[in-house]
């Protein structure tokens, strides 16, 4: 097998008889950042969940050397971390509780500070805005991988609902995590962030339209084809 940390070949996901992801192949090596972009309903979240092994899928999949669909959850968490698009919490924890829950309060505090949320450590989640709550959960994902090197970080819309300063803090944290040796895959609508990533995967209606460096994938022709086609079909 190659030295890819994330390797998906012909990944497919079907939910309730509907094909959401169709034959997607994607790979990321150590230190790479990958942006999954596409219009609403393209399948970005489903692809990210499939890569994290959170959904039944067909095709070949390896993350950190293991197939996340078959290894046990605890072992899987050693190789990849995941943050959902809209993280929820049934109980009103203090922000600092989240670090205790993942078993690494110091690491959590470190990433909370990196994401400019250190001052909220003693607040309850209900006292934070939606974006700040998302940041608190993102810090969990960053801290959950004990060692970035060799791990995979899968984030769904990490900077959504954050103010400009914190958006940039999240982007820089992702880049720093990748530089430390992780493979970071981010589902996002933020094309300016996608431009800064090493690779971009353009998704439309569950299929991979283009994959490669930003210069070759975020071209006016592809953007027009994917977003324009989606806009006209939506109307």
């Amino acid at each position: 097998m190659s030295d890819a940390l994330i390797q998906a070949l012909g990944l497919g996901v079907e939910i309730a008889g509907r094909r959401i992801i169709d034959g997607v192949s994607l790979s990321a090596t150590r230190g790479q950042t990958v942006a999954i972009v596409g219009p609403n309903g393209a399948g970005k979240t489903t692809l990210l969940r499939a890569l994290a092994g959170l959904l039944p899928s067909e095709g070949e999949l390896e993350v950190g050397g293991y197939d996340p669909r078959i290894i046990d959850a605890a072992a899987c968490a050693q190789t990849r971390a995941y943050c959902a698009q809209k993280p929820v919490s049934a109980w009103d924890y203090r922000v600092s509780d989240l670090g205790e829950i993942i078993g690494d309060p110091a690491g959590y505090a470190h990433w909370l500070t990196k994401l400019q949320l250190g001052e909220f450590s003693d607040r309850r989640l209900s006292e934070l805005s939606g974006g700040e709550q998302k940041g608190a959960h993102l810090a969990m994902a960053f801290a959950a991988l004990e060692e970035p090197f060799g791990g995979a970080l899968l984030l769904d819309e990490p900077a959504a609902a954050l103010d400009l300063s914190r958006q940039e803090a999240v982007r820089q944290a992702i880049m720093a995590f990748a530089q430390a040796g992780a493979a970071c895959v981010v589902a996002t609508h933020d094309l300016s962030f996608a431009q800064r990533c090493d690779l971009v995967a353009v998704l439309s209606e569950g299929r991979l339209i283009a994959a490669g460096e930003p210069a070759s994938t975020l071209t006016p022709a592809i953007i027009s084809e994917v977003w324009g086609a989606w806009a006209s079909s939506a109307s």
């Binding site: 994290a52 959850a73 971390a81 995941y82 929820v88 919490s89 049934a90 959950a144």
Partner: protein
């Protein structure tokens, strides 16, 4: 309040209650000649402590696993299922039921597990009201089943009716209570290690799995052990609602929502609440004691409405 202070306050309250509970009863205040009344009341106090502990921690676990602050084995039909299991055994095999100490707890466990499985199947994964409506249906079904069996089995009729009103503490003896007491303690001890999983489950299934929680296994364990706790508690006291609702709410208010605190503190507060309710029922009306279930309902029902209202708003 910190968790340590909550523990200390709860511990002192419980110790005081135990002394008071051992001192009051239908035969007057005090411990009697040579502690005769003390010996007489001890099984009842022990049963109330163990059942309250199981109800408290069982409620916390059920709220955690369903991510729903209104979940309570009494309201979601699990106690009803336990009593129905006992009713089926007494109705079908009235003679055999008492031959082995574990027959009645086993029947209660089968009933509680059955309703837990149906609750998980039909009530989970949706809104809070879906869980409660499913529990309401299960409660109605098991209550009707228990009533039908009770009305057709002469000698068990009074026993089952008393069980439905949560009025079994009065017949506690060491012979009847030792096994359910041990089962209550076992269920509580086995639920404690699930604290981290219940915390992770509160973030939703994807996030929980993302952070290494084996969601299926954790849920199965929690549901199984909650059923065991409910079954064992039912064998001791009958059907008592609201302890499983109130104890976790108080625990969260005192020590925060982390299950490492909520589970053990709910057990302590459950014991305080049930023993307190039983002692109030006996102490205020010694000649015609009120059942612990009646006292907890008087306190618990308004609180339930308040919590539901707060949640809705």
């Amino acid at each position: 309040m910190t968790a340590t202070k909550a523990w200390m306050a709860g511990g002192v309250l419980l110790a005081g209650l135990v002394v008071l509970a051992l001192s009051v009863g239908t035969q007057g205040f005090g411990w009697g000649d040579g502690g005769s009344l003390l010996l007489l009341r001890s099984p009842r106090v022990l049963a109330a402590l163990a059942a309250g502990l199981a109800l408290g921690i069982g409620g916390a676990a059920q709220q955690g696993v369903f991510r729903n602050p209104l979940a309570d084995p009494g309201l979601t039909g699990v106690f009803g299922g336990a009593l129905f299991g006992i009713a089926v055994l007494l109705g079908l095999f009235p003679e055999a039921a008492w031959h082995r100490a574990w027959f009645i707890p086993a029947a209660a466990f089968a009933g509680a597990l059955g309703t837990s499985a149906l609750l998980t199947l039909f009530g989970s994964g949706g809104s809070a009201s879906r869980l409660l409506l499913t529990g309401l249906g299960l409660n109605a079904f098991t209550a009707a089943g228990t009533l039908v069996i009770a009305s057709r089995s002469g000698e068990s009729r009074e026993l089952l009716t008393n069980g439905a009103y949560g009025d079994w503490l009065g017949m506690a003896t060491l012979e009847l209570t030792w096994l359910p007491v041990l089962l209550c303690l076992a269920a509580a001890l086995l639920l404690l290690p699930l604290a981290r999983s219940l915390d992770l489950l509160s973030f939703g299934e994807d996030s929980a799995r993302g952070f290494g929680c084996d969601v299926g296994s954790s849920r199965r364990k929690a549901v199984l052990l909650t059923a065991l706790a409910a079954a064992a508690a039912t064998c001791l006291v009958g059907q008592v609602a609201f302890i499983g609702l109130l104890a976790p709410h108080l625990a969260r208010a005192l020590a925060g929502p982390r299950h490492a605190h909520v589970l053990p503190l709910s057990a302590l507060l459950g014991a305080v609440l049930l023993l307190g309710a039983d002692t109030i029922g006996r102490g205020l009306w010694p000649q015609a004691p009120l059942s612990a279930a009646a006292v907890t309902a008087v306190i618990g029902a308004p609180l339930f409405i308040w919590i539901a209202r707060g949640r809705h708003e």
